[in-house]
Each structure stands twice: as C-alpha cells, then as structure tokens.
Homo-oligomer: 237 residues x 2
DNA sequence: CGCGAACTTGACTGTAGTCAACCTGCGTGG
DNA sequence: CCACGCAGGTTGACTACAGTCAAGTTCGCG
C-alpha cells in the first residue's frame, strides 16, 4: 500500500478538476492517496455479484463493467468505466453492493481503501463535493441507460451507446472519428438489453453509420450516427 | 422565503438520519432551511423537460415523478419521489437538467434554493456526506430500474415495481399489506417501459399476487409477489 | 494444422405493441 | 336528479420487433 505513482492518480485528479475547482493542496492530497496497483486479465470478475465493496479503485488502463443479473441468469450492464474513473467511489459513503464488476480486456486498477477517501473528504470539503459531483455524473449516465433500454428500439439503443462511449472516450464530435471499445457483441447486448444475435443484425443494419469490428468503433459520419441514436450529449456535461 | 415549518422539514431530517448520524446542531441547521411551500394540482409539470433545475424541493405530501422522453414522444419515468424525499438534491453540486418532473396527485413541496444547500454542506461536512449518501440511495434505486426494464419480462417488472414502492412507502414485509400509489396504468407503463394495454393485461395475470385499483395497491401475500418480481430488497438498505 | 471463441445466417416463435372499439365511473352542469 | 362528457380502464384481433434454436463460418492463436 504505497503512495500511488502520481502519473496514474493524476488521471483521477484530471477527471475531478474538469468539473470541480480544487486547490493545489487538495489535488496533492488526492495524488497522495495510499493505493495498491492490481492487474486483471480480460474477462475477470473484480467484484463478485452480491459482494459488498471492500474498496474503491481507479481504472488506470483497460475497461471495467458493472452488471446485475436476473433470476434467469441474463445479465444487464449498468455502467462502463473507462480509465480515469474511480469505480465504487460511492461506497465511501454507502458500502452496499450494487452488482458485480468485471474486466473486458487486460486492466490495471489502483485500489484505494474507503478510509483514505473518507479521511480526505472529511478534511477537504471541496474534495468531498468533487467526489459527490463525480458520482452524480455517473448517475446521470445511468439515467440515460434506463431511458435507452426502456424506450428506444434496438438500433437506436446501440447507436446511442456508441455515441455516448465516443464522447466519454474523449472523441470530439467531428464528422468522422474512431475509438477503441473492447467489447464483444454479446457485451453490447448485455448493455443494451438485446440478444447477441439481434445485436449482430442491428450492426449490419447500422453499417452506414457505424462499423464495429474487433473492439474498435469507426464512425464515418457523426451526425448520421447521432441522428440514428437520438443522441443529445448535454447530460454528459 | 420563510424558515420552513419544522414539522415538514423534519421528514427530510428523518430520512437523512436513517442512514447518517447528525448532531443536534446539524439537524437544527437543516430544519432552519429557508424554504417556500408550493402546491401543485395533480398532473402538473413542476420542471419542464430540458429546464435546468433552479432549486431543490422537499416533497411534503403527494408524489412526484422524474421522466425523460424519446424523440418519438414516449415517456420513461426514471424515479418516483415520495414524501420526505429531496428532489433534485443533486443539483446542489450539478445543475444539469435530468428530465422533467411532474405530480401524480395534489402535491405540496418546499422549495429550497441551491445556495442554502451548498452553504450548509460547506459548513457541516457530516451534512454534506448525508446529502451525498442520500443521492447514492437514489442512484441504487435507479440502477434496479435499469435492470428491471432491461432484463425482466412485463409481469416481473410490474411486480418488482410494486414491491419496491411497498418498501419505500414504509410497509413492512408482512404476509399481507397495502399502500397508496396514486398512478394510472399508463403511468405504470411509463415506469416499467410497457404500453398501458399490456400493463392492463399483466395486472389481470398478476391478480393472485396483487390488486391495483384506484391508486391503491393491495398485496394479499408478500412472499408470492416478491417471488413474482424477483425482488431482493437489499439495494434499498 | 486444429481448436475454440466470436460472429453470421436462416427459420421459426413469442412477447409485447398497435389499432380499434367499447365499458365504467365520476364530476359537472342543465 | 339525470344527462353528458371524459379520463381511465378493458377487451379482442392483428402485427412486428426481438428472442430462440440450430447450423455454419471466420479468424486468431497455440
């Protein structure tokens, strides 16, 4: 449990300061988090379904998904976490399990114990506020997922998901763009509440607006995809 | 903008202290919130779709729903707020609109300006933490809605919703129970992502486990309904 | 070269949506 | 006090989007 290499924790500070003003002292306090790097192979469970979170962790590289499962065994992803996200940050104030967490590709995280988060939040109110704000962004994204899954048809759902992940991956909305999304069609289905077969059919139908191949998303025309996904990015502000 | 009658704001304090320890001074500070009572008739919009929140408000009596709408005009509720809930509490740290808010029945709320929330959160870290925790409970509920809507069939979805609202209404899980839920079948559909016609069919099919009539839910056998809804209440802890 | 995971395709099924008509009960006003 | 209007609920017939099942194909990797 050493102080984290600051270059990694810096990603989290960057994420926080995008939306919250933090003094240098506050930023340094976050950078000084005790943390332990852990690496996982692809397709590994980080937290089993039903386990209470034992710490938060920053995604350094790779990608993490949060999922729930119904009695019938079908899976629903409720969040995707890209590098820079502090997964289970909420557990600093509410240590209730919210489902399982798994990796999609080789992934490295920095585990940060709850105590450290709670201590810095108690000492620096601005940091606590930044944490709270960060959690609320995740909640806003989740709300869109609920709308997406509940009220849009299959093609629109997938298009919306690709748009959201594009913006969250840091792509600017230029005419054409591309980004890495290390998922299988089955994963996409478990995020959009579709069977993998239907994901496949929809991807073919969307081939004019998007191509998804080998974990890489190509968007030849952003406007076209945004229209297909009824995408309105304001919720990601 | 007078100090709120303490008996109303007390409901919010009660909600907070259920999960967070607050000193008497902290509780008093919350009770002393400047607030303005506002009443709405049934089926009124409190916040229009797309408006940024201008304040938070405590539901004193009645019921409030948060909804989003797709391009096609179909509506998806993403939250129901019962008396005691502070709606848009999150907007104290993130003033981004998350959809519309409307009433289902005659409803009275106490409007609390962001400033007041931000000031007390800055002064009392424990209160800020309690606010954050409260928001995270809402997020946990939302996550279950996403799973519900994404991966359960129509009957199960409705049964799950009835179970959740029973617990949140303060009903204990005794064999038989009943509670008020001032919704129409169309509202249920917009929460569970179903057409009102299909809601009607499902209610008939569920008639052994539940009866929903005139805004009142009767549960003759809790175990039966919980099984039908695959309901696991731990996320509400 | 051979295996397995991921993807693809086709045929068929089924749950839920759509459309249309009708019923019921309540509140209003003549 | 009854007549009307209307919102909400009910029912049936038909449709369609997405699920299921089953059989390949492709491709990367040992």
């Amino acid at each position: 449990m050493n102080p984290a290499p600051s270059n990694h924790m810096q990603r989290f500070v960057d994420r926080l300061t995008e939306r919250s003003a933090l003094s240098q002292e506050e930023q340094d306090a976050v950078l000084a988090f005790p943390s332990r790097p852990v690496s996982y192979a692809r397709r590994r469970d980080i937290v089993e379904l039903g386990d209470a979170p034992s710490s938060a962790f920053l995604v350094v590289s790779g990608m993490v998904g949060r999922f729930a499962q119904t009695a019938g065994g079908s899976r629903q992803y409720t969040a995707f976490y890209l590098p820079g996200s502090m997964v289970d940050l909420h557990s600093a104030v509410r240590a209730v399990g919210l489902g399982g967490l798994n990796t999609f590709c080789d992934t490295t995280v920095l585990r940060v114990p709850h105590d450290a988060l709670r201590r810095i939040a108690a000492r620096f109110p601005s940091v606590a506020e930044a944490f709270w704000r960060d959690c609320m962004l995740d909640a806003a994204v989740l709300m869109q997922w609920a709308v997406n899954v509940g009220r849009r048809n299959a093609q629109t759902r997938l298009a919306h998901l690709f748009c959201e992940m594009a913006i969250r991956s840091g792509e600017d909305r230029t005419a054409s763009t591309s980004y890495a999304l290390p998922l299988t069609q089955e994963h996409l289905g478990d995020a959009a509440a579709l069977t993998p077969i239907h994901v496949n059919r929809c991807l073919r139908a969307l081939s004019g607006s998007i191509s998804f191949k080998g974990g890489s998303v190509e968007i030849p025309n952003w406007e076209s995809l945004a229209r297909a996904g009824e995408f309105e990015p304001s919720y990601l502000a």
